[in-house]
Symmetry: C2
């Protein structure tokens, strides 16, 4: 029990000096990478930079205690930051509630939701988010984020949450471009794109080893940060209008409390749930990818507990919603992290940075942070998945496209919700029309096959129907309609036998439909039978009074049913086989 909820007792008992060394060196690398990222994502979320740093300290410790992944690195991530910005931007905050308190409230709510889902093992709820919906949502979010950061690159003041708004505002503001800001922003963008595509191969050509070259490439943003701080400071650009990060409070975060305003909590309920679910799905997917490489195991329901605890402490320590990040987890893995202790060491690193490094970040231009965000999120845009989904399934494609278009035009929350609703509707539509075949006897055998595909023998008095799906609320009316239509068309029919070898479940609606079919067929003078009902399904049926009402019988095999109901047909078929 203790080890189920506290995986730290699992790996902690066998923690070795070798582990500690690997974890420490990974932590140093991740810390260096996390500092600019935390500042940038806080800016994206519309929050002061220190909030990003605070969200990268205690949550890592909480994950180290509760998480089942050995290498997942939690903290602020792009998509969740965008969702935070959009939630707080759309909310009407009560008097006395600052955006920071709103962010704290959102983190605590998200933490509570994740914890509750974890304790009640509700991880399956994430299944509502199909792959096309998630890919579409992330692609659309990345585009929204990149466009939203252009204003920082161009040094203009605009607002706009959805794509049309942002584009209109950008075009309107194009005359006010601040040239020094744009030079810094565009320079950083160009450098970061070059670094991402070419730096590693260039370094390797210069004779630098693979590992170090990879690390230096990942540290590209840090170099951009340092160079632009120095440039702004040396050329004294800030008074000329280049926006800088400015004062960041020095010191560790204190205790923050969320708002208990019921109106605010009501407004945040749906967004907090979406943030939790999207964060959880992303995080588990990263964790599983990395765990598979070392044949380790992720327990999704326990991940809910771990992310819940991380968000709770994020909130109470002045941060905002966090989740497992892809880029940083991969860096952590590549740098050799062996246990979640690497996360705790990273937390110490960020804590030290918060204590001593913040004064040096004073001159950091916002354009540099915007450039790091743009480069990071554009790697999330996946055009390939759109093409692949189109080729594979029109139904999934329509869910994907709807999610993208609605997210871009109406924002993140309607985007996810419309995608989820559409996927569910399409799925129900598909299973609501299951394959139902009229079957006949394959001459000389005991097998029954679809009359449309095989030369089989059928009689006029017995109608054999095979249902190729479980019978549940979404498809039982379809089965009813089909059976009534078939019986209405074949006026000589006196017996209907429903063959159920592929029926894995019959729910209460299915049972009700069977009762109705039985009742209505009886009214029109037709007997209703079942055949080849699976064991567990039969056990269930026995609990109801259906077998007593049934106006026909339940046969073990369909052949036995036909032998009894239409002995002539069976005899002819057997005769055919002998002849």
């Amino acid at each position: 029990m203790l080890r189920r909820f506290f995986p730290v007792f699992d790996w902690g008992r066998e923690y070795s000096r070798a582990n500690a060394f690997s974890d420490l060196s990974a932590a140093v690398i991740v810390t260096v990478m996390l500092i600019p990222q935390s500042l940038a994502y806080a800016m994206l979320a519309g929050l002061p930079p220190e909030v990003g740093l605070y969200a990268s300290i205690l949550p890592l410790v909480a994950y180290a205690v509760f998480g089942t992944s050995r290498v997942l690195a939690v903290g602020p991530v792009a998509v969740v930051s965008l969702m935070t910005a959009s939630t707080i931007g759309a909310a009407s905050l009560p008097d006395g509630v600052s955006v920071i308190t709103a962010a704290v409230t959102l983190a605590v709510m998200s933490g509570v939701m994740l914890l509750v889902m974890g304790i009640f093992r509700l991880g399956f709820l994430a299944s509502f988010l199909s792959h096309p919906v998630i890919s579409g949502f992330i692609t659309a979010s990345a585009i929204l984020i990149a466009v939203s950061q252009l204003k920082h690159i161009l040094g203009i003041e605009i607002a706009g949450e959805t794509l049309p708004e942002s584009v209109v505002a950008l075009i309107g503001g194009i005359g006010n471009v601040h040239v020094p800001t744009m030079i810094i922003g565009a320079g950083c963008l160009a450098f970061l794109f070059w670094a991402r595509c070419r730096l590693k191969s260039t370094l390797k050509r210069l004779g630098i080893g693979d590992g170090i070259a990879g690390f230096l490439t990942k540290a590209g943003p840090v170099l951009a940060v340092i160079v632009s701080i120095v440039a702004v400071w040396a050329m004294d650009l800030a008074p000329g209008g280049v926006r800088i990060v400015g004062d960041i409070p020095q010191g560790l975060p204190g205790l923050s409390l969320p708002s208990f305003d019921l109106g605010l909590i009501g407004q945040f309920a749906v967004p907090a749930l979406l943030i939790s679910m999207i964060g959880f799905v992303e995080s588990v997917s990263v964790a599983q990818t990395l765990a598979a490489k070392r044949r380790q195991r992720i327990v999704p329901d326990q991940e809910l507990v771990a992310l819940g605890a991380s968000n709770l402490v994020a909130g109470f320590s002045g941060g905002y919603p966090v989740t497992g990040g892809f880029a940083r987890s991969v860096v952590n893995y590549d740098a050799g992290a062996q246990t979640p202790a690497a996360g705790a060491f990273t937390a110490i690193g960020i804590g030290v940075a918060t204590l001593y490094l913040t004064p040096y970040l004073y001159f950091l231009p916002q354009a540099t942070l915007a450039a790091t965000i743009i480069v990071a999120v554009l790697s999330l845009v996946d055009i390939g998945v759109i093409k692949r989904t189109w080729a594979y399934s029109r139904s999934d494609f329509s869910a994907l496209l709807t999610t993208i278009v609605v997210t871009l035009i109406f924002g993140v929350e309607p985007g996810v919700i419309s995608g989820v609703v559409l996927s569910l509707a399409l799925y129900l539509h598909r299973t609501s029309r299951p394959h139902i075949a009229v079957v006949g006897l394959l001459p000389g055998s005991e097998h029954f096959r679809n009359v449309l595909r095989h030369p089989v023998a059928t009689g006029k008095r017995v109608l054999s129907i095979r249902l190729d799906e479980s019978l549940y609320f979404a498809n039982c009316r379809f089965l009813e309609d089909r059976i009534y239509a078939l019986v209405a068309q074949n006026r000589e029919v006196r017996d209907v036998v429903l063959m159920c070898p592929a029926v894995n479940e019959i729910d209460a609606s299915g049972l009700e439909s069977l009762e109705e079919i039985n009742h209505r067929l009886k009214d029109s003078g037709v007997r209703f039978h079942l055949s080849e009902v699976k064991g567990p399904v039969m056990d269930r049926l026995q609990k109801s009074s259906f077998p007593d009402h049934l106006n026909g019988r339940i046969f073990l095999s369909h052949y036995a049913a036909l032998a009894e109901l239409d002995p002539e047909l069976v005899a002819q078929s057997d005769g055919g086989a002998v002849a």
Copy 2:
């Protein structure tokens, strides 16, 4: 095409004098029954009595033209009247919009929705309403309706939409009971209950034939109406405080127009959709029950068109939302109606009543109408279904109970919505954990069976897994988790073969999961294979690049896979068979 959308051309061409006689006599009986019902349901809906009559004229003609059922009788029904009352009561009506215009707007919106669903063949959407949700909703609505009518029986003035409100108001108002009203109400109630249970057998004991006895029993409410009108008139009870129906405008309905206020349309969107769906499900279920008795066929998508047209004309002729009613359709059937022309004749009957009969209804006490409503709806309360569902399936039971409790406490709209959401969540929960078996070779055969149930042979290097469900977004993560967990537990495994004989579909999420599994297993040095993939599923997979990426192979049979991957095991098993 014409006959698809206008079934009237189907039965109209062969209409005979015998049909006309049957239809006319059925129409007389149904008309007599419909007059008090229409007045009563209008009162339940919170509308003037003539609105109920108007809703029983043109909608019947529209259904006769478009409907596929030969005997369905449309008009005002109890549950839809309650939903109308609750929708209009909860809405804030714009200035100048009366409750009558609101009802007309609701009918027109409901008509448009049904028509659109019919034209686009969206009848499957009704599948969202599972049997337990519908039974629960109808039972709870019937209780709400019965309680809401008690005030008319007791002659007190109270308001209250949900059960707790109504009960509190009733208890508070118990001191103000109006004794003459209560005597009429309780008397009618007692008579109607007695008539329902005993009248038929009493009449038969008096030597009256079965058919006539049945008709007289059904006409019980008419007798109650006549006797109470006479009583109120003769004893001059109205000035003493017995509430009566009063003036009903004489004459046929004129053209009414709905409100085009966008705010009102927005408020009515969800309620109108629920009214349409609940009405549709009820109506189709009645129509199918009756059609089955004569081996006739109902076309659900065309029923949407017919009910849509009925609601449209209900709205434009000053009525309110209508649907196919159970009691009146059964009466119509029993009375021998042969074609929908019976409905058109009934419409003429109600029209004549509106022209000439309304003055005689002036003294009709509301308590009598309330008593007919209570007796009618209490037959809808089905305690048996609650017990049966409990015995059959806990999951369906929880959807049923939630619907009942939420409807009683929070009202009709939250009741239906919570039931639908819960059914969907429970269904996804069940299919999100499909049966996944590790299988082994049954010695001496080519069959593979679950290792937990059969004495089968397995090797340590090859893991055979059978998935007993289609692979789609709700369960693909579960499959991933299971495979990763199994591979993490069995460190010697070098090959994983997924056996897919029961996989009817793989959606884009499932494909993505297979890609992930393939990718991650490759990372941990394990090959991933598929076996026994069905034809249509394989065709789909060929459209993707999955077969090219697959780090193992796709085998036609699982035995072929094992023969290739673990020849030793297969040889041993064959040897065993020979020995």
